[in-house]
């Protein structure tokens, strides 16, 4: 295959063909299919070996999958392909209500939350808040059934910029801010100093 130390041009061309086939193919390409594209006298194994070595230190390497071949990105650099995206989202209305009730009435059981809301609390609602580190269990209430009680976390305080749970505006502060008036106007909500 080699002549005076230089790879013959037919070999170079066959290599190009194999590279392009593997690059453009949706699936690993079988030896049979590749061979069908090459001249009869091509030494398939040798060509594959050359290609394998050529891409040994590349960002992608030649892999054998059963009797087929494919290029795959090198595991070394796979972490550089990760795209990091920040998704901004708000808590759902229900989750926010439950969180607010836990914040104001902690420690509190699920049943007590349901009492306050007047509707049942979905099985996952509190668990979701727990997984997002908003709330955490705080022991059990000493009543029949020993239900878990919940309280807010340090993450909760951090997120809302509160030093302690006592910094949440109390009932009278809410009332004087106008947030409790019956006919609360959207403009009032926005103007409210609480939004700052």
């Amino acid at each position: 295959m080699k002549k005076n130390g230089s790879i013959r041009s037919e070999v170079l061309f066959s290599i190009k063909v194999i590279e392009a086939i593997l690059f453009s193919s949706l699936h690993p390409v079988s030896a049979k299919v590749i061979k069908s594209k090459l001249p009869e006298d091509a030494n398939f194994e040798e060509l594959i070996d050359i290609i394998k070595n050529k891409y040994l230190n590349s960002g992608f390497n030649l892999y054998k999958v059963s009797d087929a071949w494919a290029f795959r990105t090198s595991p070394e650099v796979v972490n550089f392909l990760t795209v990091e995206k920040i998704v901004k989202k708000k808590l759902s209305k229900a989750a926010l209500e439950i969180l607010a009730i836990i914040a104001y009435y902690q420690p509190i059981t699920r049943a007590e939350i349901e009492d306050i809301r007047g509707v049942s609390v979905g099985q996952n609602s509190i668990e979701n808040l727990f997984e997002s580190s908003w709330v955490e269990p705080k022991g059990h209430k000493r009543v029949p059934g020993k239900p878990s009680t919940w309280r807010t976390t340090k993450h909760f305080l951090d997120h809302f910029g509160l030093e302690s749970i006592k910094d949440l505006p109390n009932f009278y502060e809410l009332k004087s801010s106008g947030l409790l008036s019956r006919n609360i106007e959207p403009s009032l909500i926005k103007k409210s100093s609480l939004s700052d």
Binding site: A20, L81, K89, K93, A100, A103, F160, L174, I184, S195
Partner: protein
Amino acid sequence: MEDVALSLNEDECQLNKNENINIGKDIFVLSLGEFEGPIDLLLDLARKQKVDLKEVSILDLADQYLDFINNAKNLNLELAAEYLVMAAWLAYLKSKLLMPTEDEGELSGEDLSFALSFQLRRLNAMREAVKDLFNLSLLNKDRFVKGNPEKEKINLFFQDNTCLNDLLLSYTSILRAKDTSEYSPQYKKLESVELALIRLNKMLSDNKEWEELSMFLPEHLFTKDIIYNRSILASTFSATLELVKSGKLELKQKQPFGKLFIRNNK
């Protein structure tokens, strides 16, 4: 983005698409529908002159176009207005070229024919450009993308956008909702006519003389509750009328808006 490949058919490359049009000959096949307007037709005619477009004789071109249009008219074909407008313009251009005027401020026949030739060359250049573009190495025809692009590994970071105001609004909405459920309207304190009747009956039992009605109002009439005070006045007067109607009481008034006097009718 859609993965589409543009293709150009060979017949779409044919610029000389109307080889069968022979101007001024006995065989005349007209298919205006193949032209995209008069400029397209003119370009086609210009290419028939088989010279570089720069060298095209605008005078010949105008003649050929006018022949073409006249033939169409003779065949009683309906011509789109734009073809007729171009014919009129070319006739004007022809007159300018044949009889040059020295009118300042008007474009000369040379200027006008250059403008037309420029327009034809420009459109022709774009038609050639379409062909040239498709002779390039086209994606999905000559060059291919990676067959099996690796799935982008995306790490999503959820950043919670909830602010304290959201939390407080949520909480206060709960409080307001609870408040509503316990709401009971407070009725104003009023004296009913029934109560006034009972009071009057008691007070009138042993009264035979005319007395001012105001004497029969309750002792502590002037409370702070003005509405209540007025309701006593109204109910006392209503009760009085009720008793007069049933014949238990007599009522008199000396003048309009004057004082009312009552006495027992027994």
